[in-house]
Amino acid sequence: MIGELGRSYRDGEVVCRQGDPGDCLFVIQEGELEVVREEEGQETLLRVAGKDELLGEMAIFYRQARSATVRARGPARVLTLDKRNFLKRIDEDPSLAFRIVETMSRRVRELSTQVVELRRALAARGG
């Protein structure tokens, strides 16, 4: 489609890699992205993000490298947001950070649910 904004990614193509410098955020325009953590050669799927979701927001708060790899799950289109532009805008309009806070609150809630599920699973195994 000629009117699509952002950049197209093929299935499995990496949007950002764990360890890369975090200098931008991403908004999914179409499709899905999966967030995976690589440790000791093993991959753990952390979550799957869908249309309109914001990813990579930790880059706003930390100067650290990316904590996970993000890649396309099927064909996807992603818009890149410049960290510098975003921070400049927040200086003029602090309410712009509201959506980031909203996104992070939702993630905390999801993680809390996952912790409960994992504890239950461990308890069921007698752990």
Partner: protein, 458 residues
Amino acid sequence: MERAARRDGLELGDGSRVAVIGAGPAGSLFAYFLLEMAGRVDVPLELDLWEPKGTFATPGPAGCNMCGGIVSETLVQNLAVEGINLSSKVVQRGIDSYVLHTDVGSARIATPLQEARIGALHRGAGPKDVKDPRWESFDHHLQARALARGARLVATRVEEIAREPDGRPRLGGKDGTARTYDLCVAAVGVNSPLLRQLEALGIGYAKPRVTRTAIREYHLGQEVISRTLGSSMHVFLLDVPRLEFAAAIPKGDYVTVAVLGEDIDNELVDRFLASPEVRRCMPPEWRLEQRSCQCMPNISVQAVEKPFADRFLFIGDCGVTRLYKDGIGAAYRTAKAAARAALFHGISEEAFRRRFQPVCRAIAGDNRVGKLAFQATRVARGFRFLRAGMLRMVTDEQRRPGARPRMSGVLWDMFSGSAPYADILARMLRPAFLGRFLWSTLLSLWPRRRTPALTEAP
């Protein structure tokens, strides 16, 4: 002072009534943000969005807001963070590059991230010969978001604006609708006859200084546009008297030609369109007289001194906007600042002075710097050797991977309106930029056989 204003009832509370005149980007975004923020703090408001063009569904002047139709890179990103993602139902073409055309050649400037982050679209339903609209109008898209938040559309023309004895604004519509409000937000264009009435209210508002521009639409069809102009905005720096700046913006089935300059008239627009530089980038079958429509709207070139008063706000073009570029971006910034000020700090002149004016001042101050930046471009445009140097520098930067895009970045931000003019001018004055420009200019004076070909196909 803000506290005193609140005691006088100059604040928005449960059930307050707000009128927004004009449902262009400034009006609809103001309504959207005000209602969204009011919802967050549980303050129910009544908001009427007065718009004589209704839902912008009619092609041609009846549904058009006379604009080049570019959503800048910065605005695309800001809207995405706000949760307003512009889909391909609205954006007719994602712009991923600029092609700079001069009489000494052309050069393509790719987006820094190789990504389409500029949206080319129609503000209204498109030119008058649109038969089967395939894209949603941008203004309708934003208006629908405001309506979904609870705004009420009053699809009639405001014919009377007055103040009640207690200072509250009263609007009267062409269809006989009449209502009194707690706050009136004017979000009309500089071409609106309502500005005279607003000046006559005696609240200290004086409309902005304007200049005329020309906008033409040509129907070429999607396939032909993709093959010729592609997904690049074509910008022309030509030494044509009275011509300041011109661009050809490819959209879905149409190309929009926007021309800025002094005393714009048909003769100047035709002379520009007949130039070999324009003919080179348009398809061979294109005829300049076969236009779909044309308008010559005014645009603001000097900000309003005081775009606010007790219970009144002026946002978008009728208040403060950016010089020449990114008017929709300025509408977004002033609309959101106005909504925040009105909801959280009151609707008095003092509250607006403290909470809304800083954003207006930032834009107006940057415009003053912008005039200098455009002056510098004008100088470069006036001399062939400087045009050649500029083009040489861009071509070199675009050819060499990893080269610092000094000139490309400056021109990209000038054309796209993606950065404040102060940033652009500061980069133009850096010794490294000036040195490189001087070097490129000297190289471009070298005999042709030792100079790399400057022209690059779009």
